[in-house]
Amino acid sequence: MPDDRRLEVFSSSGADCRGSSRAEFVARAVLAGGTLAAGGALVASLPRLAVSAPSPAQDQKILNFALQLEYIEAAFYGEAFAKGKLSGDLLEFVSTVRGHERAHVALLKKVLGRNARKQPKFDFGETTSVPKKFTAAAIALEETVIAAYNGQAANLTKETLAEAAKIVSVEARHAGWIRAIAGRNPAPDATDQPKTAAEIQADVNRTGFVRSS
């Protein structure tokens, strides 16, 4: 029988049995802004990774975790597009990206079937109508999603990982795109630091976008 504790990676308390070890080792191992530690940096100081053994049941929890994020993105971009306050590069961005996020939601819901979580209620405030706030929110969301998928990659079964990689790749393109529009460095780091489920949930909660589960 699998250890039930491992399946609680996404418990409502946000507790993550892997702690921050994954984020730490990658952060130490590879570039953080331009300088690389000597020798064996890629997997330096390899900790005892308490990687949760992949399983279909765990895939389901992880995909539902991802679905929450895709719901947020799809709703955010959808509302911004509908409000019609964006123009130029930002309009081109939101027009394209909202379709992608809707497709991500659709895929995850299809895969999860009746186990798919329901879409929460959102309140995006002025982030969907004020261009500067939209830009900042879009950057924050895309960065969060990348870190979320990257953080769970090793916990997924290989079949699901292959599909998740196709999604995170597009989210990373979104991040590069919106940052370029904003005049910010699209790819400031040599590696994208992953985050634990708990860290991601804290990021999401901090936005205040989600009003109900």
Partner: protein, 229 residues
């Protein structure tokens, strides 16, 4: 599943590099790490006590890392040469500088993980694409799209969770680069909702068609071979 021979890219003298390293191996038999199919990838890692060895690195992981390393060598050389030739000026000058630094860092990190099992850097001839801004941008788009697609196709084959996490964290950076270069080139940064991976055979064919890789690497331990072209 790709066979080991599919993982040799261009004219790389991978066998030569490994043969050199094998000579240095002591008689330690980490037999458990050895795959029957391959000469000694596992033993090399154990002998060099590279971090990868800590998890009984699969020889397939070594092959995948060497494949990734080759693509990173290619990108690093491309950006480095573009910067040296001062081909991109003004506002975009930072692009080859920054991407070069990142790809060189990827090279260093993967080489460090592989230790003596790392393939040597090939020689390149970039045939003019490092000499003008427009050619540079078009090539950069192609390279970054390709690198991202290559990593995607390999992700599910990596056995070590630590290496997977590292590869995944590099993969998304390549995708950012791709979007950035496309943005600068005036093409859509994200053409589809899902990015497909490209298998080794397809990536190898694309790289071979460029003729950018031109020679077997020298077997002698020359630290910084000159870039040709």
């Amino acid at each position: 599943m790709q066979s080991m021979s599919d993982l040799t890219l261009g004219d790389l003298d991978r066998e030569g590099a490994i043969r050199e390293a094998v000579e240095l191996v002591s008689g330690d038999t980490r037999a458990a790490f050895l795959s029957k199919a391959v000469v000694g990838g596992g033993a090399l890692l154990a002998a060099f006590a590279a971090p990868v060895a800590a998890e009984a690195a699969a020889t397939s992981d070594v092959a995948i890392l060497n494949y990734a390393l080759t693509l990173e060598y290619l990108q690093a050389a491309f950006y480095t040469e573009t910067e040296r030739l001062d081909a991109v000026r003004g506002k975009l000058a930072r692009v080859p500088r920054q991407l070069g630094a990142v790809e060189r860092a990827h090279v260093d990190a993967i080489k460090a993980a592989l230790g003596g099992a790392a393939v040597k850097r090939p020689a390149f001839n970039f045939r003019g694409v490092t000499e003008s801004q427009s050619k540079f941008l078009k090539t950069a788009v192609a390279f970054e799209d390709l690198a991202a697609a290559a990593y995607k196709a390999q992700a599910a084959r990596i056995k070590s969770p630590a290496l997977l996490a590292a590869a995944i964290s590099i993969h998304s950076v390549e995708a950012r680069h791709a979007a950035w270069m496309r943005f600068l080139a005036g093409v859509t940064p994200a053409a589809a909702a899902f990015d497909e991976g490209k298998p080794v055979s397809e990536v190898r064919a694309i790289v071979a068609s460029t003729h950018f890789i031109v020679a077997r690497p020298k077997k002698s331990a020359k630290k910084r071979p000159k870039y040709t072209g």
